[in-house]
């Protein structure tokens, strides 16, 4: 039993990460009807920004030890900033010129951005994984057979905070309202005086900020970051977004936690090496039998 609880907590941790990344997919899909293939790479770039920030403090001062709250906070903020800047650039360069092109074109362009960022980082890091400085004690809270890292608790909490912030942003702010309006009907939104281009950029910004920040925290959790690290979480988060019904914000959150926990629990059944296969099978299953998502509402002509 305790083993299951352990797996559940691990699943909750990774599920939070999926949920936060999945929001980026869902938001962009909502306004552009396009899958931002390079979204996982924003997550990766955030993780690397966090690494370089914390590593800089580790080398040149003792701030990591004295005020870890400050350095961690700064790493997260910088991770967000880098991801946001990249997202704005990619929207401008690779996606906006293709808004009226056939649907295949922005998708291929996004794949290009993803390959580009991944391999730039591969060169920058010289294909070496980077190890995060130990800003969190690697000791665990123990309860019988259950071990929980401090950083796991931090990650679970932070994911919930991000989700809450995003919810407030979408529901309560003017920009959030604009995003919802554009997602509903771009043409009508434009007629109502909404600046569609700016709203689309803001959607990318919101998604990227979340991805960048969760990249930093995820880096602290897994400790080793590589240039390819965004790929699998990116696909998983996409799966999560599809599970919850792509385009739906609560769906992405539910899908993220659902996928994280399912994946974690099934490692006990099929073994850890088939973890990724479980996610893909879920994705295919949902797309075939319930393309509007487990939690989404049915719509004609999807997928």
């Amino acid at each position: 039993m305790q083993e299951w609880i352990q797996l559940f907590i691990d699943g909750l941790t990774i599920g939070g990460v999926y949920a936060v990344i999945a929001l980026g997919y869902t938001l962009v899909y909502g306004v552009l009807r396009m899958i931002n293939f390079a979204h996982g790479e924003l997550f990766m770039m955030g993780a690397f920004t966090g690494y370089y920030t914390l590593n800089g403090f580790e080398k040149h001062s003792s701030l990591n030890d004295q005020v870890p709250v400050f350095t961690i906070g700064l790493a997260i903020v910088l991770g967000m900033v880098v991801a946001v800047v990249l997202a704005i650039l990619m929207e401008r360069i690779a996606y906006r010129p293709l808004r009226h092109a056939p649907r295949l074109a922005p998708l291929i362009s996004a794949i290009g951005v993803s390959i580009f960022l991944r391999n730039v980082m591969l060169r920058v890091t010289e294909a070496q994984g980077k190890v995060y400085p130990a800003v969190f004690p690697r000791t665990t809270i123990e309860y019988g057979q259950i071990h929980v890292l401090y950083v796991q608790i931090f990650l679970i909490t932070l994911s919930l905070v991000f989700l809450l912030l995003l919810y407030l942003f979408i529901e309560r702010t003017k920009i959030g309202t604009a995003i919802r309006a554009v997602a509903e009907d771009r043409g009508t939104a434009a007629l109502m005086g909404i600046n569609v281009d700016r709203t689309i950029v803001m959607t990318f910004v919101a998604g990227a900020a979340l991805a960048g920040a969760s990249g930093v925290v995820y880096g602290m959790y897994v400790t080793t970051v590589t240039s390819g690290m965004g790929f699998i979480p990116g696909i998983k988060a996409f799966t999560a977004a599809v599970l919850g019904g792509i385009g739906s914000v609560p769906g992405a959150v539910a899908g993220g936690y659902f996928l994280g926990i399912t994946e974690s629990l099934t490692t006990k059944v099929f073994g850890a090496q088939y973890k990724d296969v479980v996610a893909f099978v879920l994705l295919v299953g949902v797309l075939i039998f319930r393309p509007w998502g487990i939690f989404g509402k049915r719509e004609d002509k999807r997928a």
Binding site: A105, L117, V120, Q273, L283, V284
Partner: protein
Amino acid sequence: MSGGGTARNAMRDLRGLPERVRSQMRATRGGAAVVRFGHYVLLPVLAVAAGLAPEHLSIRWAFLAIVLIAYVMLRASSSLFGVAVLAATLVVLPHYMDTFERGIMFNIALYALLGIGLNVVVGYAGLLDLGYVAFFATGAYLYALLAAPIRGGGFDVGTSFWLVLPMAMVLAALVGVVLGIPVLRLRGDYLAIVTLGFGEIIRIMANNETGLTNGPVGVFQIPKPHFFGQELATPFELYFVVIAGCFVAAFATERVRDSRVGRAWEAIREDEDVAASMGVNTTFYKLLAFAMGAAIGGAGGVFFSAKQSAIDPTSFNLDVSINVLALVIIGGMGNVRGVLLGAMLLIGLPDVLRDFSIDFLFVHLSNLGADYRLVIFGAALVAVMVLRPQGLLASRRRALEFQQTEILESELAT
């Protein structure tokens, strides 16, 4: 509304023109003939000369010359003569290359073959497949497992290469259909992600199903094929087999494209719903595209494992699918000429520029071809989509589709 209408208008305009203008236009056509003479006669001569005198002219320049010829020639026309000259160049030139360069030529030929296969799926039927490596792996493992001895991780069935080749094509086609059935209802983005998932699943299975595939260790001591008693031991000898395969595949796929089947694919690509309502059996034709593309990919896998003599799951990662997709798209979707050019540019050029480096101000990029190849691929994919979405050498119809959507959309927007 349609391309046909525009062409008819152009014809009418030409008829109504005064004789003076018409004669001028005819003269321009004569000029084009002169240019074509240059493409067909002078450039190949230059290339062969470059190949004949390797000690005087670096092979890199010879290779660049081939690419240039291929581009200009393929661009000018797709006539049989042009193809014949290109084929002659591809067959003659490697005789004057060293082992390393012959290895590059083999890779180009192999990826051209894979590109021709993927082109059926992506270019003709318009189904974005990111898991093409699955079929490549199927073919490679089938030959490796059947032909390699037990201590090499195989089953020592000792099946001949020439027997495995059709078997691999059939098996890969079956895999293509099996993977194709669940994704029949998916389009565009979803299809891309799910096929990507299939490619990864095949790799993960090759890695974990140790009993069947020998797991991460892979299969080694894969024997070389024999051709009328002579062993095809080097990549150079295998190169000609692959080139032959390319031409067969190119011929076959272009013939199919021009048939009833090809028209059905075209209809599905342009609008699946309309195609279905016009009575096109979309299920059948989509699966046929998957099967045909997969069969060619399977053949490519057999050639690959015959050349490698040892394979393991790391050879079958997502990069293979991306390389093949990139060369199809950058070269020009929907035609074999584009695929050929794409393979030369994307697979050949990085290797030719392997130890080429740039020193610019504070930037020092060494080993440009090997290390930065994927960085450049990524940027090139974006650039091609934004600047020339039909690819460097597009089929005319495909180019028109890309333009039309833009016109239609902009008409709707205003």
